[in-house]
Structure formats: C-alpha cells, structure tokens
Amino acid sequence: MTEVKQMSDSSMEFEETLKAQATQLKEMLDSGNMSGALSIISDLNNTRDKTLYIEVGRLTRSLHESIRNFHIDSANSPDTDLNSIEDASDRLAYVVDMTNKAANKTLDLVEATMPYASGISNEAQQLKEDWTRLQKKQMKPEEFRILTATMGTFLAKLSDDSDKVYANLSEILLTQDFQDLTGQVINRVMGLVKDVELSLVELVRMAGKVDELTGTVHQLEKQETGIEGEGPQLHAEKREDLVAGQDDVDDLLSSLGF
C-alpha cells in the first residue's frame, strides 16, 4: 500500500524536487560552479525519467489489474451462460448473437401468425356478406343450410386459430427475455470500460505532464467528411447537427428542393 501511495504522489514529489534542484542550479551557476551545475542538470533528467517510469509502470499495472479482475468476475459469475465468455469482445459478440436470435425468432413467429389473422379476416368477411343477406331475408333454404355448415366450420377453425395466435404471442413474449441477459452482459462491459477509462484519463494526464515538461505542442486536427457512416446518434434532441426525426429529414430535403 505504501508503495502505491508513494507512486501516486510521485508527480507531486517530482515538482518539489524540480523546484529544489532549480534553486540549486541557479546557485551553482551564480557561483560559477559549472561541473556542479551540469551534475544537477543530469540529476534533473534522471528525476524526470524516474517519475515517468514509475507513473507508466503504475498505469500499466492498474490497466492489467482491471482486465484481470474482469476475467475473474466472469469465471465466478453465477450465471452459467456467462461462464464461457472470456472477454469484453466475446461478451459483446454474445449480445449481438442473442439479440439476433431473438429478433429472428420473433420475426419467424410473426410471419407464422400473420396468415392466421388474414385467414380469419377473409373468411369473416365472406360470412358477413352471407349473414347480411340472411338478415335481409334474401336467402334461400338451400343457401341457409350451406351457411350453417360454413359457420360451424368457421367457428371451429376460429377457435383453433385463435389458440395458435395466442400461443405464438406468448412465445414472442418469452423471446424478449434476451433483454435481461444482454442487459447484464452490457452492464459488465460498461464496468470494464469505466475502469479502463479511468486508467486512460490518468495516462493522458501523465502524457500532458510530459508535454508540459518537454514543451511539446500537438496539432490536433479532426477530419470529418460527412460521408462516413456513424450508426445511431445519441442525444439527437440536444444537438444542432442532427435531425430529430423523419419530420426534420423531410424539412431538410424539401429545403434542398426535394
């Protein structure tokens, strides 16, 4: 623990050492002691290198640690479905697979159910016409006998088909259980991302310190052509550069003469 504490304080120590050594350096130069001054400059370099090594080493360890913890978590997971999943990328592939299966199963069931609905609708339409003629007393006894038979068949079929529709809808309902499993997996991956992000922020902070020490200035240029596909955007309602929905798209296109 002491070691860790020491290391996280290392950059602060560095600043203090730097100040102390700078004062010494000035004294040496003022008194004309060149060899002493050069030795202090060399010390300064050593101090800087040491601080960097310690910080980079610490960051590497904490990165390694968060990745290792992630593996341990997955191995200890009580959820058997998650045991075999070794890393974040595999976990996300699992999410893609689960959602894909669920979407396909739902589509299968919907496609299987639609013909029942349209069949019931078509037959009911036919019966409604006959029924109207019966009510208007426009039906011959022979036609009435046929209608009675058709009605009997229809009611039996209606009962069967409604059961099938109900069963398929229940199955569609159950197919949504992927949300629970994929949600758990995504939450775990988000945990890892958060850990890695913290370590990266620290690394960036350290890199910034190095730049500050060496006086490096970076030219950061963001290249955007507007032609790259980016996938779904978040917080569309808060951003000026995005359309909030189809109405916005239509307005924009009509302003372009569409």
Partner: protein, 128 residues
C-alpha cells in the same frame, strides 16, 4: 406504381432486411431480393433486373452512400430510384445523400406508414 416491380433490399443486418421485406409485402410488393452490402448489391443491380433499390448507409464493405455513387455513375443504372433507410441522422449526411442523387431518405427507427409514404412519393414523381 407497378406492384410487380423487382426491389433489392440492402442491409447488413438480416433482421432489418426481413422487416423491410415484410413491410414491402404488406404494401403489395412481393418481388424482393436481398444483399448484405454494396459489394454484393452492385453486381446484382448490374444484371438490370431491378426497378427499385432500398439501402442502408452504414455497412461493412461498400457502404450505402458509395453504392448510391456507383449506381449514379453507371450509365445503365443512373436513373434507378433509390430509397435510403438508415440510422445516419447528421444533417451533413442527408445533404450528402441528396447531392449523391438519392430519391428518398428514411431515418431509423421508422414506421410502416413512413416507408409507404416515401415509396409512393418517389414513384409519383417518376410517373408524373
């Protein structure tokens, strides 16, 4: 609008292709084929069998916007009506698609009614 016209649906996700195919069928268009990106779609289109192209934007391989550019640059395909159905929601991207010569643009998530309206609008213009 000819309900028998042949439509190519291009999307890298098979579920989205199925959803679009189902919606098209409900609108009376049952003559549909599928492709999973621009590289697969372009040779299919070049056979000259297709009357209408419905494409996603963001796909591995050749993207939808590149496919649109290839279609517009191809002498035999340049008048093919193209509807983009995509999650890409940047104003710049929509402008880029319009400049590339798209005939309609639908943002995901979308409804059956929106898809119907856009297809009807495209063919109203072509037929008039």
């Amino acid at each position: 609008m000819n309900k028998d016209m042949k439509i190519l649906v291009v999307d890298d996700f098979s579920t989205m292709r199925r959803i679009i195919k189902n919606l098209l069928r409900d609108l009376g268009f049952s003559n549909t084929d599928e492709a999973d990106d621009g590289n697969t779609a372009l040779p299919m289109l070049q056979t000259g069998k297709y009357d209408f192209l419905v494409t996603d934007w963001n796909m591995p391989g050749m993207t939808g916007i590149e496919l649109l550019q290839h279609v517009r640059a191809d002498e035999s395909l340049k008048t093919l009506p193209v509807l983009m159905v995509t999650a890409e929601a940047k104003r710049d991207q929509i402008v880029a698609a319009a400049q590339a010569g798209v005939n309609g643009y639908v943002v995901k998530p979308f409804t059956a009614a929106v898809l119907k309206e856009k297809i009807e609008k495209i063919f109203e213009r072509i037929d008039s």
